[in-house]
C-alpha cells in the first residue's frame, strides 16, 4: 500500500522532532508510521556519529531513551541505526 510521501502523520512529525532534539548530529533520519497511520507502530531509521563505537543494542537503547514518552503510547517499534559512512 503506497502512501503519498508528501504528507506525514502528526505522530511521525512529533517523533522526528524529538529525535532531532536528542540527536542533533544525526545525518539521516526517517520515521514511518507502519500501523497504517494509527500511531501504534513506527519504523525509525537514524544515522549519527553519536552511535560510533556502540553495539547495536546500545544504539537502540539511546533511541529508546530519547523516545521514552512517545513509546508509552506505542504498540511496537522497529529501530534501524547506523553510523554515517565517512
Amino acid at each position: 500500500m503506497q502512501r503519498a510521501m508528501s504528507s506525514h502523520t502528526d505522530g511521525e512529525v512529533r517523533i522526528v522532532q524529538r529525535l532531532k532534539e536528542k540527536f542533533p548530529q544525526a545525518t539521516s533520519l526517517k520515521v514511518v508510521d507502519i500501523s497504517g497511520g494509527c500511531g501504534a507502530m513506527y519504523e525509525i531509521h537514524i544515522e549519527s556519529d553519536e552511535f560510533k563505537g556502540k553495539r547495536t543494542v546500545q544504539q537502540h537503547q539511546l533511541v529508546n531513551q530519547a523516545l521514552k514518552d512517545e513509546i508509552q503510547a506505542m504498540h511496537g517499534l522497529r529501530i534501524f541505526t547506523a553510523v554515517p559512512k565517512q
Binding site: T56, V57, H60, Q61, I71, G76, I79, F80
Partner: protein, 148 residues
C-alpha cells in the same frame, strides 16, 4: 510436567529434524516467582516472547522463534509474557527495553527481533552461538553445499 516436555524434546531431537519447532521448555508459571536475573542465567539461550515457540502470538516473536529454529537451536528457555503480566512488565524494567520479544545469551541481553535478524543476516549470530558452545545448523548446511 516440565520433565515430560524435556524428555519428549530429546526424543524428537534424536530423529531427523522436524518441520515444526521442537518444544522448548515452557516455564511461564514459575517465572513470576524466580528472580529475573537468575532466570536469564539458567539457560544459555533465554527468550521472552508473546505466545510459545509452538504457537507465537506476534509476528516479531515468531521471527525470533524461526531464526533460532533455522540455526538448529531447539533447546532454549521460552517465557510467554502474555500469561504473566508481572513478567511482561518486569522483563521490560529488567533489561530497560520497552518491547517484547527479548533475547538473552548467557544471561546477557542481546536485543529484540530486529537485532537478532541483523545478527542472523550478517553472520554474527553463528559466531555468538559458537561462543555459547552451540553449533549453528547453518554451518552444517554450508558444509553440505560444499560437498555437492
Amino acid at each position: 510436567m516440565n520433565n515430560l516436555m524435556k524428555l519428549s524434546g530429546r526424543c524428537l531431537l534424536s530423529g531427523a529434524r522436524l518441520l515444526r519447532p521442537t518444544v522448548a521448555r515452557l516455564l511461564s508459571a514459575e517465572a513470576g516467582q524466580t528472580d529475573l536475573s537468575q532466570l536469564v542465567k539458567k539457560d544459555k539461550v533465554v527468550v521472552f516472547i508473546k505466545g510459545t515457540p509452538a504457537q507465537p502470538m506476534c509476528g516479531f516473536s515468531n521471527a525470533v522463534v524461526q531464526i533460532l529454529r533455522m540455526h538448529g537451536v531447539d533447546e532454549y528457555a521460552s517465557y510467554n509474557v502474555l500469561e504473566d503480566q508481572e513478567l511482561r512488565q518486569g522483563v521490560k524494567s529488567f533489561s530497560n527495553w520497552p518491547t517484547i520479544p527479548q533475547v538473552f545469551f548467557n544471561g546477557e541481553f542481546v536485543g529484540g527481533c530486529d537485532i537478532l535478524l541483523q545478527m542472523h543476516q550478517n553472520g554474527d549470530l553463528v559466531e555468538e552461538l559458537q561462543k555459547l558452545g552451540i553449533r549453528s545448523a547453518l554451518l552444517d548446511e554450508q558444509a553440505d553445499e560444499k560437498k555437492k
